[in-house]
Amino acid sequence: MMHHPLIGTPQDRVDGRAKVTGTARYVADFETGAEVLHAHVLNSAIAIGRIRRIDTTRALAVPGVVEVFTHENRPRTAWFSSSYKDDVGPPGKPLRPLYDSSISYSGEPVALVVAESYETARYAANLVEVEYEAKPHETDLLKQLPNSYVPKKRRSGINPPPRPKGSAASALESAPVKHVARYLIAAEHHNPMEMHATTVIREADGKLLIHDKIQGVYASKQYVCSVFGLSEDKVRVVSPFIGGAFGSGLRPHYQLFLAVMAAMALERSVKLVLTRDQQFTIAHRPETWNEVALGAKPDGTLTAIRHKAIGSTSRYEDHQEAVVNWTNLLYSAPDVQLEYELVQLDIETPTDMRAPGAPLGAFAAESAMDELAEKLGVDPLALRLHNDTQTDEVMNKYHTSKELRAACQLGAERFGWRHRPFAPRSMRQGRELIGWGLAFGAWEAQMQKHAARVMLDAEGHCTVGVATADLGTGTYTILAQIAAEALGLSMNKVTVLLGDSALPQAPVSGGSWTAASAGSAVHDACARLKAELLLAAQTQRGSPLVDAKLEEVMFDRERIVLMRDPMRAVSLQAAFAAGGRPRIVADGQAGPDQLTQLRYSSHTHSAVFVEARVDEELGQVRVTRAVSAVAAGRILNPKTARSQVVGGVVWGIGMALHEEAMADHNLGRWMNHNIAEYHIPAHADIHEIDVIFAEEKDMLTSPLGVKGLGEIGIVGTAAAVANAVWHATGRRVRELPMTIDKVLGLTPAHTEAR
């Protein structure tokens, strides 16, 4: 009489009702009405230089304006220590808003207007007069490529390229077949639908209740406490719902600083919602240049891999990503040289954006593999499988598991890959050429140190608390599943609380580690809770479970049941009565296992297949079909898991066809800083997306066997689209996005430049 398993079954989101009725509260939804002050930021018009004069007189004269903060009058209470660094911050010094008169990128905040209404603040901000002394700036990555450098200090959490193996140069020299090409990916902006915002509520006792758009409330809390010198009990950060972030909320951004500064100085509650245009002043995926060289024997065996990437960063921080390592992680070769360098520009520091690094490197490497397959005259899937690695050749470790081949097979079958003609331009319908392309992808499966608390009462109501965030990732739902299954409860008896710094500590949610880490911590807490409950049940006089061990019982429908003799059971109520406590609280922990990590590396893998239809004359591309086959360990909730991968594929299509932040290098400024002109896929751009999960047993990565799904969907997709466009048209586009002009070859390629 086993109860129905919940883990692994498709479950509707537990926060679904709140989201479809408009009751889920995001940062800006808190504190409406007249009490709260509204703030608006004025951003710099120049890229580099200093503010010579800033005049706020007219802004201050607007009725309803409470204060205008600039570097000249900002409160000294703010403690701008240069030692503060956030968890995921790269080497360097984080931006210090309104610190002094110097400007280090176009869009840096220069003033904050605080007023009784939002419209008043926005209006008054336009009355602030600023005179600048501009210095020459440089925002052009391609121009600065010759000045690239290897970052002196590595960013924690990012593996720099490994030492070269053998000599890629000489192996390439003597390779019977080789392919060398350059690939360029435009800068992208995260543009979550919810704009970055902070609502600071100043409570009667002077404590701050902060709602911040962040991927982990502790990051905001630590920032505020350390930057403003506040003790921990003075600050609570509560952000139950985040309207997407995709990495843009991994670090606290300037709106948090400014809102808290204003609230403290004015002793009022303050709401600061950035504009859509200002989303382009906080974070982006760096424009990245790649060169890939592959050498192979005539049978397709790779003899050499060289992959070099150069990414852009700001002048004040060395933002780093893992761009090139994936190539050797996926493909084996005796001679390998991987290099990653940076170029400093007068721009804001780039920030991790969905699968940071991976789709950039994958676009280059997976395009290159396709080009090599063409030269070799072999099927691109066959070439990939032929060179597929069995171990992690980058770190010299075993894989905890790698069912890429199984995924690939399922994906190829679903897609119908074997019907693909080898030659490009072989399929057409009317005036559209049809092409099929594929790519592989990989992403790290990580565990982070996580804590969780689970509370159960005699009525079987369970509350799970973790300070992590649900960014749309489905965390609320999977944690409810885990607790409900562990405790033998139905889902509706479990309440999950997230995004509150009063809850047990969790890192920012990102890198696809939340399901594995938070899930394992909840699982651990439940195990402890069960042990306590069993103990309580055993104190009952004549307890039928008196000699039972924890492994011998199961929790089912609010009872503790001895598995070998289900007639022997104690109800939760009886156990609680016996224990004499109205509720039991248990804390759980989870974190990476050091020993496992030494020997193993753990990744999710995918094979993505794409059909593109390209108008032969006009170059309009339509991605009409995609199959993403994923091996990612245990799937907790196939419904939300599928959505995560679908979302990743949509991102990949956007990266391939639409997304591009365009900079005016004369002004040193992004110019299409809005979402009418920075294009993300619209509904009409997205057709069928099929997701397949290959079975993958992995008990080494995390106690739950989970690997995480937030990033893997995007990784290979852009490359697969490029490969499909090539297969359709015979034209190889090595620069993203592949806008109509590039597909038609009407815009000269930059990648020939070096």
Binding site: G430, E432, D615, L618, R622, D664, N674, H683, D685
Partner: protein, 337 residues
């Protein structure tokens, strides 16, 4: 937004009398409110036209001229049976633009008068001759993917972003306007202007005139028409290049051809000499290239938008093909016919 005085005139005369250089008529507001939020438009007062009577009709007179009131929403115009039956080109062009929500708000008059989407024009922290005469035109050497290739001046290379207006140009529509001195009819061609040395002026409309209607003469192009729009995503994006065509046929010959281009100039672009190249002949594909070349004569790119010349050439040929084959482009099915 700057503070403004909000007024709701009860009659057209009142609206006209109240209009000054510093005030703006409010139609759907989808462009005006947008620009006010960006501090680009700073009207001292808004004259809300939405309650006015008599500007919401769609009618057809005995000569077959279709008259659409200035306050008819873009959505209603595109869905109106008279429009669908007699000028499907107009419906198609409207539906190729913006979104259902925006089209529900946007009015015919407002659509005609919407301003450029030039990035610099929208960004008050950059120079722009159109926004602030005399400050310069950074687009020429800057980011100009969406900019003009025809009819530009050293002062401005912006485009007019409307889809609807491109169809109106091909339909030889007339804009009916009313001012203090009475009614005027302006051919669409003459309604929008080239930037020249006064890029701050988009149209030939006088500051005190209001658009009351759009009139479209009867044309018998049947299914020989198309609105082909190429853009950076398949919906909810402005045209990189668009082509509106009506091709009237008589006994297998083109009796009248009208071609207008969008996304390439400060106004919908027409070249009668180009149209004449096909008139009186069969719609021979071989000649489409010549028509395109004539339309694009004098075109020049500014860097990012160089591709538009080649793209427009291809698009014109294809649109002519669609019109000749009576297979107008669907805005729903994204495959290009």
């Amino acid at each position: 937004m700057r503070p403004f005085h909000y007024e709701r005139p009860r009659a057209l005369e009142e609206a006209i009398a109240g209009k000054t250089e510093a005030s703006r008529f409010l139609g759907g507001g989808t462009n005006l409110i947008d620009l006010m939020k960006y501090d680009v438009e700073r009207p001292a007062s808004l004259l809300d036209l939405n309650r006015l009577e008599g500007l919401r009709e769609v009618e057809r007179d005995r000569e077959g001229t279709l008259r659409i009131g200035a306050l008819v929403s873009n959505a209603d115009a595109a869905a109106h049976p008279l429009v669908r039956e007699h000028h499907p080109l107009l419906a198609d062009a409207i539906l190729a633009g913006a979104t259902p929500q925006l089209r529900n708000m946007a009015t015919m008059g407002g659509n005609l008068l919407q301003r450029t989407r030039c990035y610099y024009f929208y960004d008050r922290l950059t120079p722009c001759n159109k926004r602030e005469p005399g400050t310069g035109c950074p687009a020429k050497e800057g980011v100009n993917r969406i900019h003009a290739i025809l009819g530009t001046s050293e002062h401005c290379i912006a485009t007019h972003p409307s889809d609807m207006c491109v169809a109106l140009a091909a339909l030889e529509a007339v804009v009916v306007v009313r001012g203090p001195s009475g009614e005027r009819r302006i051919r669409t061609e003459d309604f929008h202007r080239l930037p020249g040395d006064a890029p701050e002026r988009d149209t030939t409309l006088d500051a005190r005139e209001v658009v009351t209607a759009i009139e479209i003469p009867a044309r018998l192009y049947g299914r020989h028409h198309t609105y082909l729009k190429l853009r950076d995503r398949l919906s909810y994006a402005f045209a990189l290049v668009s082509v509106a065509v009506t091709m009237e046929m008589q006994e297998g010959r083109v009796s009248r051809l009208r071609v207008a281009l969008g996304g390439v100039a400060h106004k919908p672009w027409r070249v009668p000499e180009a149209e004449a190249l096909l008139e009186g002949r069969g719609p021979e594909e071989a000649r489409f290239g010549a028509v395109a070349d004539r339309l694009l004569q004098g075109a020049r790119g500014y860097g990012h938008n160089d591709f538009k010349i080649g793209l427009a050439r291809l698009a014109i040929a294809r649109a002519l093909h669609q019109a000749a084959a009576a297979t107008p482009q669907s805005h729903v099915a994204k495959r290009i016919a």
